[in-house]
């Protein structure tokens, strides 16, 4: 990260004011077009000011009323996007980004029921993913088979989402000794609606759901943690996403290491040629679905509030790269 403004790079913008670090930001960060940028197709025409004071709520209001303070607000929640008023000044813009919303099973305790793949699969069978997407996230997303969206690098064209089968789910939950249980979900408040919709699905198979905010200390015996994650890589999703959930150095894993996953990852690292490399990525996708390694939900859109005066080009990587963004006219 860059600790001071300066003409440090070759990129499309020059950092002329402010800093943005992991733990702090200046009140504003300013980037001006680089007049010597080598890529004429990406040469910016506007100055970018990141306003780090006004906040998301006020920024969204600003776009809606068109007071000129803010042009683009990143990372709206589904509820914020749904609540955006009809406006002649701005709109909600969506992007089918390389992102997932998924549930991580808590397998930390040796006696965790979620160490049993059949139990994990049973919970997956109980989920009507389209219902969860529509009810919990206002339809802002796409149901996908596992972690990779259909059509993307590594997506297996024959893979389908785990089916919604409440009858099979109920039988499998019974077999796993989970009938009638309360399932504790830890999630960001932004995804409470999703947990509520998941709870409605679970009620149909005799379970109940309890939401615990991820802002609080989660109880040690929670069952599932809902995680949003994104892929910024040049066609190497397993290292960025799958590894982060299941790899031996994963930060999101809630359980023991998985030697079978690690072996697949090692295989990928040593498969440089195509199409063999993409074949291994598909193998990883099939493995995590076959083993029901996660509670698969959907791929959420990234959501933005955008002023009508701006032609905003969103990135599938979820990053705020802005070289192509223009002022209309």
């Amino acid at each position: 990260m860059i600790d001071a403004p300066g003409p440090w790079g070759t990129g499309p913008f020059v950092l002329t004011e402010g800093v943005s670090l992991i733990d702090s930001r200046s009140d504003r960060v300013v980037m001006e077009p680089n007049p010597t940028y080598w890529n004429s197709a990406r040469r910016p025409t506007v100055r970018i000011v990141y306003d780090n004071v006004i906040g998301k709520d006020e920024g969204i209001k600003s776009v809606a009323v068109g007071d000129g303070q803010v042009d683009v607000v990143f990372d709206l929640t589904p509820d914020e996007a749904k609540a955006f008023p009809a406006s002649e000044h701005g709109k909600v813009q969506t992007k089918k980004a390389k992102a997932i919303l998924t549930g991580v099973f808590n397998e930390n305790r040796p006696d965790s029921p979620w160490r049993n793949p059949e139990a994990r699969r049973a919970l997956n069978l109980a989920i009507d993913r389209q219902f969860v997407l529509d009810e919990g996230a206002h339809g802002y997303g796409t149901v996908i088979p596992a972690f990779i969206q259909p059509g993307r690098y590594g997506a297996d064209p024959v893979m389908k989402p785990i089916p919604h089968d409440p009858v099979a789910a109920r039988a499998a939950l019974d077999a796993a000794g989970l009938s009638g249980r309360e399932i504790v979900f830890v999630a960001s408040p932004a995804w409470k609606g999703v947990v509520d919709a998941v709870g409605a699905c679970l009620a149909r198979v005799g379970l109940s759901a309890r939401f615990v905010s991820a802002k609080d200390e989660p109880p040690a015996d929670f069952d599932v943690k809902i995680e949003w994650y994104f892929d910024w890589t040049p066609q190497y999703p397993v290292a960025c996403v799958h590894r982060e959930f299941f790899g031996k150095d994963a930060t999101l894993r809630q359980g023991p290491e998985d030697p079978r996953f690690d072996a697949l990852y090692e295989k990928l690292l040593h498969t440089a040629k195509e199409p063999q490399q993409e074949g291994v990525v598909r193998e990883v996708e099939r493995y995590i679905q076959d083993e029901a390694k996660a509670l698969f939900l959907f791929s959420p859109f990234t959501l933005f509030a955008v002023s009508n005066r701006v032609d905003f080009v969103a990135y599938d990587t979820c990053m705020s790269e802005l070289a192509e963004t223009r002022i209309k006219g």
């Binding site: 990260m1 300066g6 440090w8 990129g11 300013v30 080598w38 150095d249 990053m319």
Partner: protein, 166 residues
């Protein structure tokens, strides 16, 4: 937002509301967006999520362990020319640290990876045993100017270390 003109974009009209886009980005990785908007790497990912050449205009595997990259003719914002030696400098700098990348060690090059500037435009990287993640790792290897390396070098002024601060 400051609506006042604050500068002169290369001899053109001054900056003001008419040519300024004001953004609110609460993302925890905004720091990386700032880097990717202002610095570059060998390759990048476009708005459709597809890998593209950037400061390397092309690359090819000569064998299972040797990646050859052809560098682009580009100039730093401070006027310094970019060339293969600047790529090698960036590689040498990142290799000085154990775990420089905030996202994690999966972006590290192995300790036995080597990099050679063959000529002004050509770089050869050798990955003993192969590494199919090489291009992903290059996306995280920023290539700033000599002045940046001399003045900052991704070293956190609070800690004096670049670990986790790349």
């Amino acid at each position: 937002m400051d609506a006042q003109a604050t500068g002169d974009p290369g001899g053109g009209q001054p900056w003001g509301p008419h040519n300024t886009v004001t953004v609110v980005d609460p993302s925890p990785v905004n720091w990386l967006s700032i880097t990717w908007n202002t610095m570059e790497e060998a390759n990048r990912v476009d708005h459709d999520g597809i890998g593209q050449p950037s400061l390397a205009e092309s690359w090819r595997w000569l064998d299972g362990e040797t990646l050859e990259l052809k560098m682009r003719d580009a100039v730093y914002q401070d006027g310094e020319p970019f060339n293969a030696s600047m790529f090698k400098l960036g590689f040498d700098k990142v290799q000085e640290w154990t775990n420089p990348h905030p996202p994690g060690a999966f972006l590290n090059f192995a300790r036995d990876v080597t990099c050679e500037a063959v000529d002004d435009r050509t770089v050869r990287m050798r990955f003993p045993g192969g590494d199919s993640a090489a291009l992903m790792k290059l996306r995280g290897m920023h290539l700033p100017s000599t002045r940046f390396w001399n003045e900052w070098g991704f070293v956190d002024p609070k800690t004096g270390s670049a670990e986790g601060h790349w």
